[in-house]
Subunit: 465 residues, 2 copies
């Protein structure tokens, strides 16, 4: 396996990205300790910006202060563009604001806007004031868009030419932007800068130099408005296998492009967010380094859960008469609560996922939910039967066995219904359905399952009592 | 917003992908019902392959049988390449095998291998036998690689030239493959077909036609071996913002390339898998249409949970003496079980996530786990205190309040330790750590929390009793 910029001399061919970066970190630390500035300078400056960004993230504040002056400015600039918000803030804190503004100026405008967005507002304002006027206003413009919209993830750098330009003229235009990695497609516009079509670079390469770009263009390409949500944009990329997606304003004027590398990040971010919501942890917790900060983020849900579970305790209190009369009922409380909870989590996860994939046609949703309910009914019968059998063998009491079995069936089915209904209701109320797949549904199901169990027990006891 | 191939006449500019596809489905169904074959043919053949694939997925078997013969073969071929396994099987079942082999032959080899991989083995074998010899052996070769390895997601179609070729010669080479969308980069190889470098098309477009490609190439590019896992490959794409990644065999010979559009799919797939493991549902359940199939997939974990929860019941049985002596203890059982469970799920999710991002340097892991434990200690103190206070107010019994408060603190901390240790142990044993973040940890924590609670209660009662 070949390298990014990491020196592989100590590594086998199959070393993973992670292993290779561990070696880079080790090498850098050794050179730091021995004060070998020459080696350090050599190693650092031969890294891929993404590897350098990772190194900066892993180093301590002291180490970073040593390392930064040894790296060439363009490389620091590119590494900073690849860094997470915490690292950006740490690096920025160690740099002179003049230097910082030079670094930001070297970035593509979308990277510059992201990096400045990671800094405290006063600091980013000061940096912007130190930047050249034109660059600064381009970046300011990008910073006005919400971070998770088309405008927030697009770059305003692109090459757009009129339909009557030749390939040769378009190539000259491209040449002005030759160091820009964002250029994958040529955009064709009319006199009002309305998007007319796109030309893949491959097609320009193969065409003769005097062909008009208007003849080469794919007409009426897929494009989005700057206010479209990034999740929707990600759906376009994955459905249509796009490399770039043009972004237009309300008047259809071309204002930017989103490139696929930014979308890869968006998809990872959205997936991490869903996972976080299920576990009721903060979405960007890995960027949070203090335990106190993490606690503050998780506390609201935990308190909600605590109140919910105390209500569950209240249900047990409510039915203390039943419990006192038939003590072995308590033995199946964990089983009925947990299996109801599982059923609710499964149904809500399936529902949330089918809402999130962008595949959720009404027909799909109806089929998915209907399938889930049948699964729940089947599982309820099976597990209810199992619990009934175990209870008869264990306790030898027919009433307890019937209560436990029947309650298991009901708890599983009711939890499944709740697991399907809550996310759908949330979507209708424009709340993120993913919230429903976490502790909310579990807590509700706990209370409900206990009510069902003891309700049934009380009912049966009265019936036979 | 502009269209894929969907007719937008009924839609506003801001319609989402989903809304636009609902309209397509409606339009197709109306034309089907009125038997308007001319309109149907027109609508169908103007769709983007991905939209047609989605339509085929949503139609019933009968409708699909009507629709398929109206679509031009190349479009069906491309739609099939974009379809999910279930749709592939359904479409394949309705086609003559001669026709199917023609469709597969038109696909890029990696798409052909994927589609054939979705079919039952005998059927895919028959289709391969009907295909042209050279195409078939190229596809067969790709099908030998595991689906989730570099070899399984790469395409063998690429353009590789020697270092001493001119740009002009390379362009002629590219022209032979002009209809291939996979071509984003030119590969430069030596006489043994070892990878030497890559040339972005942009650079070729800007260079003069008699430049040698060896002079334009980025030397020593990042590449992977065919047996590398797709998750690792996805990490390369997202870390280094790649568009293509060359794949080599054990001898360093260039055998294929992975393109970014395939990686977008991989990332979505892996994210869905993690979410599924947390909820203990099957990873590819959305492709499963029978409730029975879904039940079979979920059953093992549910039975495991059932046994676990019955063991929890056994713990209650074990401490029935304590419970009988101090009945109000039962009221805090739900709270202590659930909060322990939450703590375990949070810690395990954070640990699993930091293992999965490819960012998990030893230093990071240590910091993350250490932070989690401090969070758990803080949360335990806070929630333990809250429960103590509630118990005093509610029950008015100092012993119960102390038991509940202390047990809450211990359950939260112990669950957090378990939540961190189990995924790490799983990784060491080469089991997917994500498994640990689901029902396994919850079930273990339930049992543990009850043992802690009643253990403390028994201890305190003996002490003060």
């Amino acid at each position: 396996m070949s390298r990014g910029g990491i020196d592989l001399s100590e590594l086998t061919e199959q070393a993973t990205l992670l292993e290779r970066r561990e070696v880079l970190l080790e090498t850098a630390r050794q050179a730091l300790e021995s004060g070998d500035r020459a080696t350090l300078r050599l190693v650092l400056n031969s890294q891929h910006p993404a590897d350098l960004a990772e190194l900066l993230r892993l180093l301590s504040d002291d180490e970073r202060e040593w390392v930064l002056p040894l790296v060439a400015e363009p490389l620091v600039s590119r590494a900073l563009a690849e860094s997470d918000p915490v690292t950006v803030q740490q690096v920025a804190a160690e740099l002179d604001e003049e230097v910082l503004s030079d670094l930001v100026e070297e970035m593509a405008p979308d990277d510059a806007a992201d990096v400045l967005g990671d800094l405290p507002e006063e600091q980013s304002e000061r940096v912007l004031e130190l930047m050249e006027g034109e660059e600064a206003s381009e970046v300011r413009e990008l910073m006005t868009h919400p971070e998770d919209s088309g405008g927030g993830i697009m770059t305003s750098r692109l090459v757009a030419v009129g339909q009557s330009h030749t390939v040769d003229q378009a190539v000259s235009n491209l040449r002005e932007w030759a160091d820009e990695e964002d250029i994958l497609t040529l955009f064709v516009v009319d006199d009002e800068r309305h998007l007319v079509g796109t030309v893949p670079l491959r097609r320009m390469l193969l065409a003769s130099r005097d062909t008009l770009v208007g003849e080469l263009a794919d007409r009426d390409p897929i494009c989005v408005r700057a206010d479209v949500d990034q999740e929707e944009i990600a759906a376009y990329f994955s459905e249509y296998d796009l490399l770039v997606l043009p972004v237009v304003d309300e008047d259809g004027e071309l204002v930017g492009q989103v490139t696929v590398d930014d979308i890869v990040e968006v998809i990872q971010e959205e997936a991490a967010e869903d996972l976080s919501k299920m576990a009721a942890i903060g979405a960007h917790e890995d960027e949070e380094r203090s335990a106190f900060g993490v606690m503050r983020r998780r506390l609201p849900w935990l308190l909600f859960c605590l109140v919910g579970t105390l209500v569950s305790g209240g249900v047990l209190d409510l039915f203390s008469g039943v419990l006192a009369a038939v003590a072995p009922l308590i033995l199946f409380v964990p089983a009925i609560m947990a299996m109801g909870g599982n059923s609710g989590i499964q149904t809500s996860t399936v529902t949330v996922r089918s809402l999130a994939t962008g595949h959720a046609h009404t027909a799909d949703l109806r089929r998915t939910v209907w399938r889930e309910l049948r699964v729940a009914a089947g599982m309820g019968l099976l597990l209810g039967g199992a619990v009934y059998t175990v209870a008869r063998a264990w306790i030898g009491d027919e009433t307890v066995a019937r209560c436990a079995g029947l309650a298991m069936l009901c708890a599983i089915v009711v939890s499944a219904v709740l697991g399907a209904v809550v996310p759908l209701a949330f979507r209708a109320l424009r709340i993120d359905p993913a919230v429903a797949s976490g502790p909310l549904i579990t807590t509700l199901n706990d209370i409900l399952s206990l009510l069902i169990y003891f309700g049934i027990a009380a009912g049966l006891m009265q019936l036979w009592g």
